[in-house]
């Protein structure tokens, strides 16, 4: 079974990742543990999030924390970072028993964390966001220089004066990482750090992380990408349903074995049919030119493509190259276009229609931001399901909400996409990121749209669930839907798409059949036009491989 597809070995190999040598200090046991957790238990109403978890992190060690969505990884690191208090168990830091009362205490101890959902202030500038995490008395002018220097050294380009609300997810993550690096931590916790990076960015991040580890700092690395864990991490702790089920050496354990430990059974990888797709074009974009809404956005320049019946078209690219603008233009969230014929949905001019009207024409949309755009946090899952599905599925009766049918539909999504929730009446905010994503994707797919536009379909979703979403997208296309996937995850695009185009600086390359392009080509196209300090080294390595 081609399990490797869903964990992306090809990309890892082509990126030139090699398992690095075992950490000698840790192996010889010469080094005392930096952080030790003993029997940590955390209960939430109706759920045991951490069940007697033991964990040891040593200096200079990169330890992976592996587990499915809802396995308790985020809860565990929140306890370490002082955001949650453990119900039972002991925490030892540098040999001393400690109580981590809050994040401020954790940071004073030398623990820094990059969050999966970023803890950034949207209306403030990059510099202000970083200043807030610095000790008192930090001079803003001096900090600006340090930010510029660190962001250049680590290949994380940042403009300190930019406002965060104008930035994409990938760019925001750079702020978080730079903010942590500036704190000079002993233990750095990263929650899914590479999920929104290009291969080149990931390579440069990995060399950064290795350098940090060589300096004697420890890293706790949460990721679903097993090949990355194999390439980067010295040790791995596998969590399942809140318990530690295994400790392993990722360089000696196969990705498949680790995936089995995580999920309990083998994940299915997406299988693509190779039938001919020559049906009619359902979604057409023709000469779409759009000035950015603000000075920090990207102008879209003369974008043209078509998505045929039964086809999956992938648009690759680094965040901030026009993805947000393109998604807003396609979904109708943005301002009406000058030319209504720039976007044709089933042949109908849709350029000046709002999102609801476009949905009525047969399109469905899954935006990148699952919290602000994809769901209403304070509403229940059945209410969230109703919001986009009521017209197509007829979930109303005499103008009122048909509760039983709405609940039935939400139940169908929850069951069909393995959403871990307490029920259809759970609030959207109570779901973990990956589970919410599964719910939102499932909600759109089960409406059987004729066109589906989906951005970052598996961001923050674990390998098993990602494979399920990929399979659902492929099956949907087989049933005749035109699917447009906007993603930064090249593995994903190569795994499911029939054709690929690259969005760079607001311009879209000519879509080409997936068999006709290599990861290198696409990666360089994505990153090469981007202002990346680390390109030469990575590019050189890739060229020699290619």
């Amino acid at each position: 079974m081609p399990i490797q597809k869903c964990v992306g070995p090809r990309l890892a190999q082509e990126m030139g990742l090699k398992p690095i040598e075992q950490n000698n200090q840790g192996k010889n046991g010469l080094d005392s543990p930096l952080l030790t957790l003993d029997g940590v238990v955390k209960r939430f109403p109706g759920c045991l999030a951490n069940d007697n978890v033991d964990l040891v992190v040593r200096k200079g060690e990169i330890r992976a924390l592996l587990g499915e969505n809802g396995a308790g990884k985020s809860t565990l690191v929140k306890i370490i970072y002082g955001l949650l208090a453990a119900d039972e168990g002991r925490i030892t830091w540098r040999g001393e028993p400690v109580t981590i009362e809050g994040p401020a205490v954790a940071r004073d101890m030398g623990i820094a964390m990059v969050f999966q959902h970023f803890s950034l202030f949207e209306t403030m500038t990059v510099l202000e966001n970083i200043l807030l995490a610095m000790p008192k008395g930090t001079s803003p002018a001096e900090l600006r220089e340090r930010v510029v220097r660190i962001s250049r050294d680590y290949g994380l380009p940042l403009d300190p004066g930019r406002h965060v609300h104008t930035m994409s997810v990938g760019e925001r993550q750079r702020i978080e990482i730079v903010r942590c690096l500036l704190l000079d931590p002993s233990l750095l916790i990263l929650d899914e750090p590479t999920s929104v990076l290009t291969p080149q960015e990931a390579i440069s991040l990995f060399s950064t992380l290795r350098q940090i580890a060589r300096e004697g700092r420890a890293i706790l690395y949460i990721s679903h990408k097993l090949e990355e864990v194999k390439a980067l991490c010295h040790t791995a702790t596998v969590l399942r349903a809140g318990r530690v089920v295994a400790e392993c050496n990722p360089s000696e354990t196969s990705a498949r074995a680790m995936a089995e430990l995580m999920i309990g059974d083998r994940p299915q990888s997406a299988e693509r049919g190779d039938d001919e797709r020559s049906g009619q074009i359902r979604l057409t974009v023709k000469g779409l030119t759009l000035a950015a809404a603000d000075q920090f956005g990207t102008d879209l320049q003369d974008i043209s493509f078509g998505v045929a019946e039964g086809e999956i078209l992938g648009i690759a690219g680094v965040a901030g190259n026009g993805q947000r603008e393109l998604m807003e233009a396609l979904s109708g969230e943005g301002p009406a276009l000058e030319d209504p014929h720039a976007i044709l949905i089933e042949g109908a001019a849709a350029g000046q229609l709002g999102p609801a009207a476009r949905r009525r024409l047969g399109a469905a949309f899954v935006p990148e931001e699952r919290i602000d755009h994809g769901s209403v946090q304070n509403m229940t899952l059945s209410e969230n399901a109703f919001l986009t599905a009521f017209r197509r599925l007829g979930l109303t009766r005499l103008g009122l909400i048909d509760r039983p049918r709405t609940r039935g539909y939400a139940r169908q999504v929850i069951d069909g996409f393995d959403v871990r929730a307490s029920g259809t009446e759970a609030e959207a905010r109570s779901l973990s990121g990956g589970n919410l994503q599964k719910f939102i994707v499932g909600r759109e797919i089960l409406q059987e749209p004729r066109i589906l536009v989906i951005a970052q379909p598996t961001w923050g979703v674990d390998a098993g669930a990602a494979a399920a979403i990929h399979q659902a997208l492929i099956d949907l296309a087989r049933r005749g839907c035109s699917v447009l996937v906007i993603s930064q995850d090249l593995d994903e695009i190569f795994a499911i798409c029939d054709r690929i185009a690259v969005l760079s600086d607001g311009k879209l390359s000519e879509p080409r059949p997936i068999q006709a392009v290599s990861v290198d080509e696409v990666g360089l196209l994505m990153g090469g036009l981007h202002d990346m300090a680390a390109i030469p080294e990575a590019g050189g390595r890739e060229a020699s491989l290619g």
Partner: protein, 309 residues
């Protein structure tokens, strides 16, 4: 100079009419920037007014009276802080209750003081400067609270946009979860902001009962707390516009009074509406840029903070 000398008393009354609004609104600006919506400004003002008047009439000390106004406003605000932050009560309902409570409570305290009058607060009196024609009385002829209201606004602007503590306060108002996750004590910062807002409202009330009309009358704030609240929102949380709004409101209030006494043929009720309409119209007109509003509005305004969700 004699041809414009009639303007001097008009400008002086405009300043006295605007000062209590400016004081209370400056306090509420800080509160809202920290993410808390305290609708109890009116209640805190009126309690500050009665406390200041009672202290002034029993001790005769203006300094003690002003301090009493500050303390009374802060005390009422601390109740609000305890209920909304400590017991996680709804901010809107608690603020409204605070206003109703303040009006009733001040009437009870002030029952024995109705009908008495006080000497107004001493004016700054600088011999030579004060005798300058026109600019003398306008620049140098006020009591200390007027100067303080300007100093407080400048100080608050500096604090919010130039100091680190102000950045932290804005961060708490923008996203309390993010601020919490990088280690700031959200509830303590908000409580301090609420206390400051209460003290400034109390001071605004004290100005009314000590200087504007140096006497006590039941419900003497007459809705000024609500105007101060509205000014904060309509100024899109920007100090400069807050000053503009407060003075515009004060100016039109006074000018329409003069117009009424001059006997122009417009119903007095319509004239009384003018300050409200004009202030709102101007502030709405200058703040139509949605991006700017989004940049200045506190993201978590009025939202309840649940740590460790």
């Amino acid at each position: 100079m004699s041809d414009i000398s009639w303007l001097v008393p008009v400008i002086l009354t405009v300043i006295t009419a605007s000062t209590p609004l400016l004081l209370a609104a400056t306090g509420e600006l800080v509160v809202e920037k920290s993410g808390v919506l305290n609708l109890g400004v009116e209640g805190m003002m009126v309690v500050g007014a009665v406390a200041a008047f009672a202290t002034a009439s029993s001790t005769g000390s203006a300094v003690l009276a002003i301090l009493a106004g500050l303390a009374a406003g802060a005390a009422v605000a601390s109740v609000f802080g305890f209920l909304t932050l400590g017991l996680v009560a709804n901010q809107v309902a608690t603020g409204l209750a605070l206003t109703i409570f303040g009006i009733g409570f001040s009437a009870l305290i002030g029952a024995g003081y109705v009908g008495y009058a006080l000497e107004p607060l001493p004016k700054l009196d600088i011999p030579v400067l004060n005798d300058l024609p026109f600019v003398g009385p306008i620049l140098f002829g006020h009591d200390a609270l007027v100067y303080f209201s300007f100093a407080a606004l400048v100080g608050v602007s500096w604090f919010l946009y130039r100091s680190r503590a102000g950045l932290v306060l804005r961060a708490v108002g923008e996203s309390h979860d993010s601020a919490h996750s990088i280690g700031y004590p959200v509830l303590r910062i908000r409580f301090l902001a609420i206390l400051f807002g209460g003290a400034m409202s109390g001071l605004g009330g004290a100005y009314l009962s000590l200087s504007y009309t140096p006497m006590w009358a039941e419900n003497m704030t007459a809705g000024r707390g609500w105007i101060a609240l509205a000014l904060v929102v309509f100024s899109t949380w920007r100090p400069g516009r807050l000053l503009l709004g407060a003075y515009m409101f004060g100016a039109i209030t006074i000018l329409q009074l003069h117009a009424q006494s001059a006997g122009i043929g417009v119903p007095s009720q319509v004239m009384s509406m003018l300050p409200y309409l004009a202030t709102i119209a101007v502030l709405v007109a200058i703040s139509r840029d949605a991006t700017k509003i989004r940049l200045n509005a506190p993201g978590c305004l009025g939202k309840v903070f649940h740590p460790a969700r």
